[in-house]
Amino acid sequence: MRVKWLLGILAVLLGLAYAQRTITIQAWTIGPDDPSITRFTNLQEAAERLNADLAKEGADFRVKVEGFFDTTDWDPYLRRVLLAFQSNQAPDIVQASAALSATWAAAGFIAPLDEYIPKYAQFEDVIPTLWDSVRFQGQIWGIPQDTEARPLYFNKTLLKQLGWSDAEIASLPERITNGEFTWDDVLKTAQEALEKGVIEPGKGYYHRPKNGPDFIQWYRSFGGRAFDPETGKLVFTKEAALRYFRWLKEAVDSGVLERDRLDGNWDRFHQNITDGKVLFFSGGTWNWAEWDQQWVADKGGQEWLFENFGFAPHPSYKKGGKPITLSNPQAYMVSANSPNKEIVVRLLAYTTVPELDGKHAVGSGHLPILKTTPETLDDRFTREVSYLLNFTTFQPAHADLSKWQDSFFRGVSAVESGDLSPEEAVEVVAAEMQRLLRDQVIIE
């Protein structure tokens, strides 16, 4: 009897030893635009593929991806992530802007991934410059998830009403690219459209309604420098900021730009654009997918967009100057406290394949991160917009970048609302950066 009991216990123990474990990987992701849901679902699909391979290898565990895709806003999402980091309850994977990797690395929240990356061939296919967006103090802190460009869009129908010929409209991206059409020309064209009644006041040019990475792009397009690679410090070029602020003031004063453009209301941004009321507008490639799926689906979707909208890089402020766009790549970062870093990075490798990369790019209006993905796609927007990456720039990898950006944004909003003159705003921004960033900023 006793032997039977012993054998029974032994069998149970052996069974337990060989039982399959499930490693649950927590992943928090965000759009906030709805079409970017593949940032989460791609992880789940990758887990299925990984599990199939684990089965072939005879591994005693499987992975399961849990978590969420956030469609609210960056503020609450980042707050949630931060509180999770602080209470040591962070998920294994956090997807966010690659620029945040510097801040979170400096804070000790995320893990460097250099030792894991060489193990997976998939990562060799990543466009090399994208690794720079997640490099901080010589180490890599994230796996690029997607990228994008931020074009200057224009409404072709309104340009036509203004008297532009089809050939003129078609050549606009090229004229911007070769430095022939500048920010001043954007302003003049919008002023003319206003005078001729083609557009309503304030709808000559739209930029995003709230703070964001784009302002650094426009500042750069006016000749500004944001980072000094030699010293690793942030830079504020007063002359360039003054040029940009003066442009904004003239745009507001002449009725091209709404005085209350910075009202935080994205619906108002999208609505007026997709109602065909706005002549020039700065956005991101992902906006295209949003407009297609959420705003103009009943008008004809992509076809309507191609008929009515065109896109180009952002122009230079001077004739012959270089155009620009900004990429704010998203990245998957791995929590420093994750007990499963090895398998998490393997899962990320399974996510970093052309099929899933392409699925996300086409579905969400982002651009692929893999060199081979474009060969696998047959999507007109991806094909036509990808050339903008030739003009792209990234945000500087500096842990205190957000302070620079917040200060600069204060200047922009003060000028647009008429509270400060461009000259005063430049001085205020410079003083604030000096006060907040101390020796970490060069004012030139």
Partner: protein, 297 residues
Amino acid sequence: MRRYASPLLFLLPATVLITLFFLIPVVATILLSMTDISTITFRDPSWVGLQNYRDLLQDPFMDKILLNTARYVGFTLLFNVGMGLVLALLSSLVPERYGDPFRALWLLPRIIPPVVYVFVWQGLMREAPYGLLSDLTGVSRNWISAEPWNVIVLANGLVGASFGMLIFTSAIRSIPTDLFYAAAVDGATTWQTVRRVVLPLLRWPILFVTAYQTLSLLTSFEYILLLTDGGPGFYTTTVWSLHAYKLALSNYFGNVEFGLGAAMAAVLVVIGVVVSLLYLRLFNFRTLVTEPKVEVN
């Protein structure tokens, strides 16, 4: 010592609660405000003494934010205390079967979740053809952006008015009917009764509602956050508590500064205490808490 035992015992629960939920948070806030704690330095903050307060003093826009706060608290207070009083008086002057449902209607904004309430406002205030006001007036504009202060005061005031209305109604009902009869016998008009009988007896409830609403408005910002996010434009409707919230907890780029935000919160605590003392002085608190004079046996 024994004579203090019972009072101390009775005071204990309140003392524990005040210590836990008021004193400790205030001390923690002040301590935090003396550090440079932020996203980056969270694991290793440094003691910076009064640096955060110096930073606040050097910030050229703190004046504007303080003025905004005074404007928001002042106008909303005027609206919701005044409106509460008017509603209470009006609904008390009519028979209860009309007055009660009328008051119940005014509770609607309070029981609707803030996000839904703001959605309703956005629906009313958007450009034509999406916004009701634009449709009705024929002037298509985003009224929230065009008239941010009026919208904020109205939206907050309409929620706040119901609080004053309830307190004032119950105070009016507690006034002995003899006084009204006496006034009627003396030939007083409705306005004279309100002016000479009701309002003087509402001094204590008015003080309470004003003080309570002031403190609550000083720290409340949710409707501003949802309606205008402190804009449009440059700090147009940013109030002190919203700015502290943004600095300490909510930043587009994720780099929040708890230390600086705590310094702002500490300043708010001081403002709250000063304002409370001012009210007590202004309304002559000592007289108000003496034996009530309205009870007629």
